[in-house]
């Protein structure tokens, strides 16, 4: 087990290193693009360009350029955004993360509960008209572009039906920190939570239903039934538990991807100033330093969560522990 953890950790560190190199190459070594000009944002003046070249040691050998960049991102953390009046980007990423975490945690809670409900309902109602009906609705949820659903939700809740009792409680778009006003925080996040979770409810519900049906024919489920255990207990103790394996492993990956920037579209549509919103602002302003910071920190988060999930898995289930 210890060797497994060490190997996995070494691999994680290696992947992180490669990721930083890849991001560096994309931003600094794209053929035919002057990195100083690219980093400076729209319409830079020659003074800024010279400043950038000096600060980042551009024009020096590759490893030194790379080293200076990494030092500015991870150690001194004083990489600044040139198109945004010298804001320190790493601090900005960390300042934006509570909004993203609020959004993703709430949506994750919603989608886990509802996806389990949908999956179980569809599996129990198999053979009736409701099972295919639920699955079609789930598929519609999977097929709808999330930013479009968000726009429609805004249109209804902020526009046409805002004055009716249904949506009069919805605050204007934006994010209020929990510490500032918990009630407003909650009110402002309800619709974004629902919007973000629709896709995952549909997808996880379908996965769970398929797994439930697959497990239903296993010997141990038949044994449980033969023992005379009630159907409910068979479902909760025997079928559901095994079916949750795929569900849980997918959940780890999707959750990490959402925190690392996958919630971007939802954040943009609802004006939630999280990491995704920051990324979007950076790309509309062609603010590459910020983009670099959000990408590297996002990718690191994903790699770390994957490593934790793998180790946790190996700890729980010795069969998948490779040497």
């Amino acid at each position: 087990m210890l060797t497994f953890i060490i190997r996995r950790l070494l691999w994680t560190v290696l992947v992180m290193f490669v990721i930083t190199v890849v991001v560096f190459v994309i931003f600094f070594k794209t053929p035919g693009v002057d990195p100083a000009r690219a980093l400076a944002g729209r319409s830079p003046n020659p003074q800024t360009l010279a400043e950038i070249r000096a600060q980042l040691g551009l024009g020096r050998p590759f490893p030194i350029e790379y080293g200076i960049m990494m030092k500015k991102i991870f150690i001194t953390r004083d990489l600044v955004s040139y198109s945004n009046q010298g804001v320190r980007v790493v601090q900005e990423v960390f300042a934006a993360s509570p909004a993203t975490l609020s959004l993703v945690f709430g949506a994750a809670l919603l989608w886990v509960v509802l996806a389990i409900a949908v999956g179980i309902a569809a599996a129990l109602l198999r053979g009736t008209v409701f099972d295919p009906l639920i699955m079609v609705v789930a598929l519609v949820g999977v097929s709808a572009p999330v930013f479009w659903v968000g726009q429609i939700v805004n249109m209804v809740s902020q526009g046409t039906m805002h004055d009716t009792f249904l949506f009069s409680w919805v605050p204007p778009l934006g994010y209020t920190p929990f510490t500032q006003d918990p009630l407003l925080w909650f009110k402002g996040l309800v619709l974004p939570w629902i919007t973000l979770s629709i896709l995952y409810i549909g997808f996880y519900g379908r996965v769970l239903r398929a797994n439930l049906l697959e497990v239903q024919n296993e010997d141990y489920v038949r044994t449980a039934r033969a023992k005379g255990i009630s159907e409910r207990r068979v479902l909760l103790r025997h079928t559901l538990r095994t079916s949750m394996i795929t569900f849980v492993s997918l959940f780890g990956l999707d959750f990490a991807a959402l925190v690392a920037g996958g919630a971007l579209l939802t954040e943009v549509v609802f004006g939630i100033h999280g990491v995704g919103y920051l990324t979007w602002q950076a790309l509309t302003n062609l603010d590459l330093p910020t983009l670099m910071a959000t990408t590297i920190y996002g990718a690191f988060f994903i790699v770390l969560v994957n490593a934790i999930v793998d180790v946790g898995y190996a700890w729980l289930d010795p069969r998948i522990r490779p040497t």
């Binding site: 992947v15 490669v18 990721i19 890849v22 991001v23 994309i26 931003f27 794209t30 053929p31 035919g32 693009v33 000009r37 690219a38 598929l139 519609v140 999977v142 097929s143 709808a144 572009p145 999330v146 930013f147 479009w148 659903v149 726009q151 429609i152 805004n154 249109m155 902020q158 526009g159 046409t160 379908r206 996965v207 398929a210 797994n211 049906l213 697959e214 991807a257 690392a260 920037g261 996958g262 971007l264 579209l265 943009v268 990324t279 979007w280 950076a282 790309l283 509309t284 062609l286 590459l288 983009l291 670099m292 959000t294 990408t295 996002g298 990718a299 994903i302 790699v303 994957n306």
Partner: protein, 348 residues
């Protein structure tokens, strides 16, 4: 029991011997008999044909050029001449609001966008870009992933390790962030790029196609490589080796036919995913660039009009929804047809 047996005997006497069919014909038959899948295929083809007919609609029915802003134009509604951009519309009664849907296919069926262009015509042209990029990148991605997977799985050892590790790194990137990084970096260069002998215009549809194809390579690579690994040590490959087949023949005529079905099963789902990704990137402004339009850019354009002219937003979203939904249903059907045993399993 006896009656059943008798019945069976009668049947074998009356019926001709069962003709042998190849598995592809069997799969096609199964798909043909899957009504829901066929309906979704028809829907998808209908959308494709409609979008291909965009120039016909724009030129012969609506008589507009949807790529030219029409801020001062006029059109006829109920026999009255009205300006395309109407003054004092909207909640604040300020500024100009484009004309709303006329529900008349011959002019401004779905209204106009913020620069007075016909939304219905734009929608069809946008569909061309969206479908082209979606299908193009899915095909490109599957081709690249299959070739890498074949090489990695067939040669194994170091080749396999290197290929798989590279895929792991691409996989580790948040999908959108990787696309955003590449897209933004390329956008900083407004004069086009020189990749060796190839010159790429920054407004070219090739850019989003290649970017999207690239980021999804690992998603196709993993299942295909798994399939290659499960086939590569089978007896028929050994038999071919014994007959003196070279590596090329082994890869392309022995192994490839056995992994093609995996790729085909993934294809509709891949196109669905790439269309969604394209629309998201275009919505963010780093996908399709003006003067080209796609469903994503129309939704983006509709953002400011969402409270006054909602159809600019609703219509392209519905098109995406219908296209992706039909592809997802078709994908389920294709999977069931090619691999009936996997009926209960769900795509990853």
């Amino acid at each position: 029991m006896a009656t059943l047996l008798e019945q069976a005997e009668v049947d074998t006497e009356l019926r001709p011997a069962i003709a042998g069919r190849n598995p592809w014909a069997l799969a096609a038959r199964r798909l043909w008999h899957n009504r829901i899948a066929m309906a979704s295929l028809v829907l998808f083809l209908l959308i494709v044909v409609l979008c291909l007919a965009a120039p016909l609609y724009a030129h012969d029915v609506a008589h507009v050029n949807p790529f030219v802003p029409n801020l001062n134009g006029h059109t006829v509604v109920n026999g009255k001449v009205v300006p395309v951009m109407q003054r004092g519309g909207g909640v604040l009664k300020l500024g100009e609001t484009p004309i709303g849907p006329t529900w008349d296919v011959s002019h401004y069926f779905l209204g106009a966008d913020s620069t007075g262009r016909d939304v219905a015509a734009l929608l069809l042209y946008g569909g061309r870009s969206s479908l082209l990029i979606g299908i193009g990148s899915a095909v490109l991605c599957s081709l690249a992933a299959t070739v890498i997977a074949l090489i990695a799985g067939f040669f194994g050892g170091v080749t396999d390790s290197i290929a798989s590790r590279i895929m792991d790194v691409i996989w580790a990137f948040p999908v959108f962030l990787l696309a955003i990084c590449i897209g933004t970096e390329l956008l900083t260069h407004t004069n086009g790029f020189q990749f060796g002998p190839v010159h790429v215009d920054p407004t070219s549809l090739w850019l989003p196609t290649v970017i999207i194809a690239f980021i999804y390579i690992p998603y196709v690579y993993r299942p295909v490589r798994g399939q290659v690994l499960s086939v590569v040590n089978k007896e028929f490959v050994e038999a071919a080796t014994a007959q003196g087949a070279g590596n090329m023949r082994l890869i392309f005529s022995e192994i490839l036919p056995n992994v093609v079905s995996t790729v085909i099963v993934l294809m509709p789902l891949m196109i669905a995913t790439t269309i969604l990704t394209e629309s998201a990137l275009s919505f963010l402004g780093i996908g399709v660039q003006p003067p080209n339009v796609s469903w994503g850019t129309i939704i983006q354009d509709g953002t400011d009009l969402v409270y006054t002219r909602p159809w600019v937003t609703i219509a392209p979203g519905l098109m995406i929804l219908l296209t992706v939904l039909s592809l997802n249903v078709l994908g389920d059907g294709v999977r069931d047809a090619l691999d009936p045993r996997a009926k209960l399993r769900v795509e990853g």
